[in-house]
Amino acid sequence: MAETHSLQDLQQPAVSSKVFVQRDYSSGTICKFQTKFPSELESRMDKQQFEETMQSLNNLYAEAEKLGGKSYLEGCLACLTAYTIFLCMETHYEKVLKKIAKYIKDQNEKIYAPRGLLLTDPIERGLRVVEITIFEDRSIGSGR
């Protein structure tokens, strides 16, 4: 019984708090998040690591919204087919969103989960914020 209880504790750590990284609109309406390191995370992780994660995310979103030959071609082709082409293929934006989801999963596994943190994919919050959940530090004793 005691064993089950502690196993449950390990599987469902309590949420201590949440940090929200807001959007950075200084470059216009493109999707970009602030890279400023939140003070609540100071005790948990490295500033540089966090900034690297945010910068990579920003770069990925910039790639999704990039205006260039490829996106124009896709747009024109879609228009000519009265947008029915999107019934069979994904838009460029959707492909990059999948890439972003994979990147966040990777980051969570490698960097954030071992530190008791969890990054939520911004698409689940309507691209408004990057939500970072800080879990209670079940420190040294229960580490398994």
């Binding site: 949440k18 929200f20 807001q22 959007r23 609109y25 200084s26 470059s27 216009g28 309406t29 999704a64 919204e65 990039k66 205006l67 996106s71 124009y72 896709e74 747009g75 024109c76 879609a78 228009c79 009265a82 947008y83 029915t84 999107f86 838009t91 460029h92 934006y93 959707e94 969103l97 698409i123 919050r125 309507g126 691209l127 408004r128 914020v129 939500e131």
Partner: protein, 401 residues
Amino acid sequence: MSQIQHAVPDAPIRYTQICTRSSSCSSPQTSSSAAAAGTEPPSCTGHRGRTPRRKWQVFPGRNRFYCDGRVMMARQTGVFYLTLVLILLTSGLFFAFDCPYLASNLSPAIPAVGAVLFVFVMGMLFRASFSDPGVLPRATPDEAADLERQIDSTGCSKPPPRTREVLINGQTVKLKYCFTCKIFRPPRASHCSLCDNCVERFDHHCPWVGNCVGRRNYRFFYLFILSLSFLTIFIFAFVITHVVLRSNRTGFLTTLKDSPVVVCFFSVWSIVGLSGFHTYLISSNQTTNEDIKGTWSKKEGKDNYNPYSYGNVLTNCCAALCGPLPPSLIDRRGLIQADTPQTAHQSNGTGGGSYAPTQLHSHMVGGYHPGWLQHGGGTSCQFCCFHAAKISFVPLTFYIY
């Protein structure tokens, strides 16, 4: 005997059901006993159906969803059906009465081109009407609480300012706080009071299309009015041609007198005028909202310019029409997870109860306004309003004979 009678309770028997999350409820509550008892365990009601609910079913805005969340429209769709009827009727009558004559006397390409245009117009209309215009989902309770904390921490004794300033391309832009959605609106976003949603790059709420026009469906709306202009000009021109060719016997002026071409002329020009207006907006990368408010006009100040414009007409057009199509942020067809945070409700429930909505914002919180007059910060589809009275019966009068 009396002892036995007393043993039977007078009050209806109460059954309390044990409902665990993992198992379904035992038997459905029998109406008589449950109703009499009035103590239905609340956790059971959600399990009765067993089919997981989709997010559109609990969407907080005032939209209507069809086809299990695939189609999204505004609440008032009467005018949309009118648009549909007008286009179908006009085109139908053209194909039925004018095309046979034109195909045999002039060229069969005429009905062919007409058909292609018609299909394109309908496609774009459906796309503009049925897609998500770029609705911003409302803040989760945690987010809303976090924002409230941030706002309150900066203020003093007076109610704290609910705006944020940001410098975009050298221009100072004010971001306003939306009391309904509990977010700071991104630049160019606006709250539509008809649909009760914040919409990205809000252009206007179009009753003819039955939806807001925003970031995700602006290009469809524009292509709709552009192709409709071509279609109406096409139909107009060929109806005139038909009239002219037929009037060899009766005389041109007599035939013209009988057909209300003057009224048709107005309807063609109103749609063409609207297309021209939107072409101007696209080339300068402005929204109807911004143009009507004069946000970027030189009258506001000498240094006032549009920071979103790419400086080049061609780039502005390409960006608006051929740029990447952003995905819907509201995930209408997603299934509701048990641990999904519910969005913050309109009433100030969680925290932040110290700030009461000011009069300025009261029109956004609840309340319905006639769509023609005021919404989304004062923008209505003015061109649409202006021409509504004139166009409503026009296409029917194309065909007098």
